[in-house]
């Protein structure tokens, strides 16, 4: 088994088609993207004992919320902790470990539901599943960037688009399975968890075994590295341990954190927000449709902006995100004042494309700044920004709203201040991005260090 998973076993033979790698990455990302649809289980889980309604002894929403939060926190932490190991172990081993974590996480969570033991859900879905999320998320990044040196943004955008798309599959699938397994004495969640865990395990294993690495010094036929170098695209490499000593690492961390914080606040509060701002004009089902549209634009933005960044470069791409999103956030209170639902929806949808685009473009930005040798490991560490933003964004939106409502501001206007706070976050992100410069020469690996690292990888694969 170990041999099957080693890096040397997955070096592509001559004639291998590089377009086989993105679907392998997508297979994994479509599975782990289920995390975004976890909320579909909240109501059934809150009625696991009472079945038709919550009764004493049933889990509360506040307790259930931690399952998802733990998973997202561990996504960031595991990506940071295991990123360097993954660079050396190779994407297939990383993908297989992710499949085991994600699949077994569902199985343990299923046991937790069956025994009505909440800590098993925290352990299974939150902790073990969280490791599956982190490893699965970063497993294809470095490989795709090596296969597509000519289109780094598009390649990683395709994979990361899958993470957004996973929720679109998981939400209706979970619904179908729960309806199938539900009975008069059971809400059908544990059986759904087991089934989904098995499906995801198989699909992720297929993806992991589909990974291939390009031979050393491989490049697409007909493509030569641009002779006119751009200052922000290096051909050298920064070691992951050295990268965290550079200001660029923290600037990119802030760029991701600010972009995600601003977007995630809207996603989290989208449904009540549109209903409260346009009271009486937007029904609950229309609000649910709005949330669905947000997901679609989130996914579309991932492939659109990441691909566009290959042409206009990464720094200008983020400049557009921060500038345009600031204008759109500032426009939302106006949309509320004039009662224009289309204007509000248009602003939110465009913002969401840039939220997704921020996720999808960051791996290519990292590769441009720090080189490709440790891109997966550095990306893993920068993803801790997601963990922080996952808390910061919703907390800002919710608490400011509560404070406003508590001070007598009408609910329809309670989001105005929040929108201006989001603009503030985006302005911070704008200046962080503006400050990104090439890494100082002393941080780059010498040829001897690079050779030693590559030798270490080849020794590990034996």
């Amino acid at each position: 088994m170990a041999g099957l998973l080693s890096r040397e076993r997955i070096i592509a033979p001559p004639g291998f088609n590089r377009w086989l790698v993105p679907p392998a990455a997508l297979a994994i990302h479509l599975c782990i993207g289920q995390a975004y649809a976890f909320s579909v289980f909240k109501i059934p889980l809150s009625r696991a004992v009472g079945i038709t309604q919550s009764v004493p002894g049933d889990w509360k929403f506040t307790e259930l919320q931690w399952i998802f939060s733990l998973a997202i926190v561990w996504l960031g932490l595991s990506a940071a902790i295991a990123g360097r190991w993954l660079e050396r172990a190779g994407p297939r081993k990383g993908g297989v470990v992710a499949a085991f974590c994600w699949g077994s996480g569902f199985a343990i969570a299923a046991l937790g539901v069956h025994l009505h033991t909440l800590w098993l859900l925290y352990l299974g879905y939150g902790f073990i599943g969280g490791w599956g999320l982190g490893l699965g998320y970063i497993s294809p990044v470095s490989t795709l960037i090596k296969w597509f040196p000519d289109r780094r943004g598009m390649a990683t955008g395709m994979a990361i688009m899958g993470f957004g798309g996973g929720a679109l599959i998981a939400a209706p699938l979970s619904d179908l399975l729960m309806k199938h397994f539900a009975s008069a004495t059971d809400v059908g969640v544990w059986q759904t968890f087991l089934t989904m865990g098995a499906i995801y395990f198989v699909a992720m294993m297929c993806g992991a075994f589909g990974y291939r690495l390009p031979p050393p010094d491989w490049r697409p036929v007909g493509w030569t590295p641009p002779t006119q170098r751009h200052a922000l695209v290096t051909t050298k490499h920064v070691h992951v341990d050295e990268a965290i000593k550079t200001p660029q690492f923290y600037l990119l961390w802030m760029v991701l954190c600010m972009n995600v914080s601003a977007g995630i606040g809207v996603i989290e509060q989208a449904s009540p927000m549109i209903q409260e701002i346009f009271k009486g004009a937007v029904s609950a089902s229309a609000a649910a449709g709005f949330v669905g549209l947000l997901s679609l634009f989130n996914i579309g933005g991932r492939i659109f902006w990441a691909s566009l960044s290959d042409y206009i470069r990464r720094k200008p791409t983020y400049m557009i995100f921060f500038t345009l999103a600031s204008v759109l956030y500032a426009t939302i209170p106006l949309a509320g004042r004039i009662g224009s639902v289309p204007l509000f929806v248009a602003c939110a949808l465009i913002i969401l494309t840039m939220y997704g685009g921020g996720f999808a473009t960051i791996p290519a930005y990292i590769a441009d700044i720090f080189g490709t040798q440790f891109v997966g490991a550095i990306h893993g560490r920068i993803l801790t920004a997601w963990s922080i933003a996952g808390v910061l964004g919703p907390v800002l939106v919710n608490y400011i709203r509560e404070y406003q409502v508590g001070n007598g501001v009408p609910k329809a206007d309670a989001y105005n201040v929040t929108m201006y706070v989001m603009v503030g976050l985006l302005v911070v992100g704008f200046f962080c991005n503006l400050a990104v410069r090439p890494v100082a020469e002393r941080h780059y690996m010498t040829d001897a260090q690079l050779d030693a690292e590559r030798r270490l990888i080849s020794e590990l694969k034996r």
Partner: protein, 47 residues
């Protein structure tokens, strides 16, 4: 620029494109199903 060729001097074989089509179909179909369901729900916003 060549679209997608692996191994120095070794463009992908013709049959590899069949595998590419199969692989993309396998991941594309579930995704399309998800998109279809989402669009169906989203229509409520325009009613």
């Amino acid at each position: 620029m060549g679209m997608n060729h692996a191994g120095p001097g070794a463009p992908p074989s013709g049959s590899s494109w069949v595998r590419v089509a199969v692989a993309w179909t396998l991941v594309g179909l579930p995704l399309l199903w998800g998109v279809f369901n989402t669009v169906k729900k989203a229509m409520a916003l325009f009613r």
